[in-house]
């Protein structure tokens, strides 16, 4: 069953609709965050001291830059510049991996200090702090999962660019993958101040 396949606008609308669902998905978690923070402002303030602002800033810059490299890669494809496109997509993937590595060390450090869901150490603190770290692990966890999926998705796109399946004539897959990647950046743009900058 064949539909006229090259409705570029339609494919884009589909991707944006998917992005809306992701906004709502994370929106539910932001709802929980807002409610619990309004209930335990002092506890949240104290708990946030346990997070390193430096790592948060680095990760934010990493993701913002990866959005830049992503956008350049797509522009390059539209202009027919395969080399530039490939290079910048690879850079995007690399930056995504840097983000994940940072996360890994950040979480590892927390675990090392006995801070993880349901840990005895964590439960010693006030319930507001328990909620803060609960939200921290869940939200950065889901976000990290989406970064990982993005990295895999972009790697597939990289292969497609290299063997010519994505090109100046047909780049909708890359553009849609870019939309997904930028969404991941946007979510982090909100997570960063809410968890790292409330001290």
């Amino acid at each position: 069953m064949n539909i006229p396949l090259k409705d570029y606008t339609g494919a884009k609308i589909g991707m944006w609709l998917f992005i809306f669902t992701e906004m709502l998905l994370f929106g539910g978690m932001f709802l929980l965050y807002s409610v619990y923070r309004s209930m335990h402002p002092q506890d949240f303030h104290n708990a946030a001291e346990g997070l390193s602002v430096m790592i948060g800033v680095i990760n934010t810059i990493v993701l913002i830059t990866s959005s830049l490299t992503m956008a350049i890669s797509i522009s390059a494809t539209k202009k027919g510049d395969k080399n530039l496109s490939t290079t910048f997509l690879a850079l995007t993937i690399l930056l995504g991996l840097v983000f994940l590595a940072n996360k890994y060390f950040e979480w590892g450090d927390k675990f090392h200090h006995g801070i993880y869901p349901d840990s005895a150490e964590l439960l010693k603190h006030g319930s507001g702090e328990v909620l803060f770290y609960g939200l921290y692990f869940v939200m950065t966890g889901f976000h990290g999962l989406h970064v990982l999926i993005g990295v895999i998705l972009l790697s597939v796109m990289l292969i497609l660019i290299i063997n010519g399946k994505i090109s100046r004539e047909d780049y909708i897959k890359l553009e849609n993958s870019g939309l997904y990647w930028h969404l991941v950046d946007i979510i982090w743009i909100f997570i960063f101040p809410l968890f790292y900058l409330i001290t």
């Binding site: 929106g27 959005s67 522009s75 930028h182 909100f190």
Partner: protein, 89 residues
């Protein structure tokens, strides 16, 4: 299809970095209740930059912009109405 210039993207990127630095600085200053609103406002501006330029929304059809608007409004209402309960208990 509209391919934005590399220069445009770099300018947007510089803006995002600048706002990131701004939000870190603002977090260090005690401005009372604004300490909650200012970071959210800055995050919103950064998001609008990413949406408009990196995600091309500025150049897209009105259909798409309205759809995004509806999504944002629904999310705002969902959080807002929940606070009708939380804030007034």
């Amino acid at each position: 299809m509209n391919a934005l210039s590399y220069r445009t993207y770099i300018v947007v990127w510089l803006g995002l970095v600048a706002f990131t630095i701004l939000t870190v600085i603002a977090a260090g200053i005690d401005i009372g209740r604004l300490n909650v609103i200012v970071p959210l406002l800055i995050a919103a501006i950064k998001t609008i930059l990413v949406l408009s330029f990196f995600m091309h929304l500025k150049y897209e059809s009105w259909n798409l912009k309205i759809m995004l608007g509806v999504t944002v409004v629904i999310l705002t209402i969902i959080i807002g109405f929940t606070f009708l309960d939380i804030s007034f208990r």
